[in-house]
């Protein structure tokens, strides 16, 4: 083990220093995005749907979109941004001339991706609150789900980033991985009503499904045993991926 939290935080601070310059421009789209989705799909399309899984369509959609926001926040950070720091800015080469070790780099970047996920998720939540779609107080529990969703997608994305040789491959990551997840993970319609028996089990493999289910339960103030499975899935898969990322980071940074 060679993780040093102060050094990891100095990596986090580097990214925060850069973000401080641009946050105003980053935050605004965060507000617009949910508004657009809610307006188009929640309100527009939702007008033709009297009820979805026991609630209004907008209320069905809202908690899932919070998770999508967290997923996007973390994903963008650990894909394009880390790739640029790795290959073009040579930020990690610079760090490795100081007492910072690859483990600190990884931890700092994951923490930063989590931070971005929380910023995205919170902005989304605030916009939903303006629409009156955040039942109080139960929906506040979603603030526990946001970092978990962020952690999982940070871990998935960083493994991908550490393994790919060139930046063009991200178009596969986005169009063949994140977009299908967005479309088929209980966000727009309940999978359990559209899939038959064994396929429902296969669908449990989808990473976004689990934070969406947790977030929806939070908004509804309902608890069930399946949420334990969702939590175990999130934590276990994140842990496994981070172990893999740790090895990949050592290889990529110190070759």
């Amino acid at each position: 083990m060679s993780l040093s939290l102060p050094h990891a935080l100095s990596v986090w601070r580097r990214n925060a220093s850069m973000y401080r310059r641009t946050w105003k421009w980053n935050i605004l789209p965060n507000f617009f995005e949910p508004v657009l989705y809610l307006a188009s799909i929640g309100v527009g399309l939702g007008a033709y749907i009297t009820e979805m899984d026991g609630t209004s369509y907008a209320a069905f959609l809202a908690p899932a979109l919070v998770c999508v926001a967290a997923m996007n926040g973390a994903s963008f950070e650990v894909t394009y941004n880390i790739f640029v720091r790795l290959t073009f800015e040579k930020a990690y080469d610079a760090m490795l001339t100081t007492p910072i070790e690859p483990d600190d780099v990884l931890a700092g970047e994951i923490l930063w991706a989590l931070t971005r996920a929380c910023i995205y998720g919170s902005c989304f939540y605030a916009a939903l609150a303006l629409f009156g779609l955040t039942p109080f107080p139960s929906s506040l529990l979603v603030f526990l789900v946001i970092p978990l969703a962020g952690l999982l997608f940070a871990a998935i994305g960083i493994v991908f980033t550490l393994k790919i040789p060139h930046i063009e491959l991200y178009s596969f990551y986005y169009t063949l991985f994140l977009t299908p997840l967005f479309l088929f993970s209980d966000v727009f319609f309940p999978l359990k009503e559209r899939l038959a028996g064994p396929w429902l089990w296969v669908a449990e493999a989808l990473p976004l499904l689990h934070p969406v289910r947790l977030a929806r339960a939070a908004f509804r103030g309902e608890a069930s045993f399946i949420l334990v499975w969702d939590l175990v899935y999130l934590l276990a898969l994140s842990t496994l991926l981070l172990i893999w990322a740790r090895r990949a980071a050592r290889q990529r940074l110190t070759n």
Binding site: R14, S17, K90, D93, A94, T97, T98, N255
Partner: protein, 312 residues
């Protein structure tokens, strides 16, 4: 194991797949010196440096910095050294001040020490005039000075400079050299790589000449010149058959000779003897000759048979 050695590399080898980048390299760098690794691009200089500061592991062999095994305790070793990489690693969107703060935090410097040290290195490298502009607006020479400033944030005992003046104009090079000399005078050990022979000769107390991953010669620049060649050089153009006729008539034949195309270089204690001799033989038809001090470029040519500057 001597305590006063700052860098000690013992039979260090690095392979990248089938390619042998560094081949059983031995280095012993005592404290307080400016030590140069010389060689053409691709000779293994940067890989050697990366192994020394622990950014990459040797395939075999061991490296100690300040007596610390870099593979075992890289944090302890790196907290005492500064590295300026060949390629600038500045954050272009941020100002020099912000860059220095970010870098100082990598060494866990805290306020008020962080700001105090930042002002010191800004003064030392004369960065004040543009300390608050985004780095991307600054000139190449300014960016290079900032890159060196970053590596001084932790008051390193050992400063590693990888090709510090490549691509800089002569005035900026001179200014950087004087800063390096100042640091050395203040007790900092300096390890630099360069493919500029004049840089090595002016700055370095000792140099190691690296070719194809091996150290083929090591010593003080003047010592290398006298050991391998002679203090003075005469250069002129002539055909090989003319060369032997020209020199055999001299009585005692001068020491080392090297040829590159039509160009002949003769190394000897006193250049005037040969110049006078050739002038005498040429009579009215005086050929163009250069008499000059022998330099490390000649040593490199003598040892490897290839030219250093501009070599790939």
């Amino acid at each position: 194991m001597s305590a006063s050695l700052i860098v000690e590399a013992a039979s260090v080898t690095k392979r990248f797949g089938d390619r042998l980048a560094v081949d059983r390299l031995d280095l012993r760098i005592p404290g307080g010196l400016c030590f140069g690794l010389l060689g053409p691009n691709g000779a293994g200089k940067t890989t050697t440096l990366r192994m020394i500061y622990g950014a990459t592991q040797p395939s075999s062999g061991a490296i100690r910095l300040f007596g610390i095994d870099i593979a075992r305790d890289p944090r302890a070793a790196r907290s005492r050294l500064g590295v300026t990489l060949q390629q600038n690693v500045l954050i272009e969107a941020l100002s020099p001040e912000e860059n220095l703060r970010v870098f100082g935090r990598y060494h866990l410097l805290r306020e008020p020490e962080l700001s105090r040290r930042m002002r010191e290195v800004i003064d030392f490298l004369e960065l004040k005039s543009h300390a608050r502009l985004p780095v991307k607006q600054l000139s190449g020479g300014f960016q290079r000075r900032l890159a060196i400033a970053l590596s001084l944030m932790n008051r390193p005992e050992l400063l590693i400079l990888d090709e510090p003046t490549t691509g800089l104009d002569p005035a900026v090079r001179l200014a950087l050299w004087s800063r390096v000399r100042e640091l050395r005078a203040g007790g900092t050990t300096v390890l630099l790589t360069t493919h500029y022979m004049d840089e090595a000769q002016r700055l370095c107390d000792r140099v190691a000449i690296i070719s194809e991953g091996r150290a083929i010669a090591e010593g003080a620049p003047g010592e290398l010149i006298t050991t391998h060649l002679a203090p003075e050089t005469v250069e002129f153009d002539c055909a090989p058959e003319e060369e032997s006729a020209l020199l055999s008539s001299m009585g005692s034949l001068p020491g080392r000779r090297l040829r590159a195309g039509r160009r002949v270089m003769v190394y000897l204690e006193d250049a005037t003897v040969l110049v006078d001799h050739i002038r005498h033989r040429d009579q009215g038809d005086r050929r163009e000759m250069v008499a000059r001090p022998t330099n490390l470029e000649d040593v490199f040519l003598a040892l490897t048979g290839t030219r250093l500057e501009g070599a790939q």
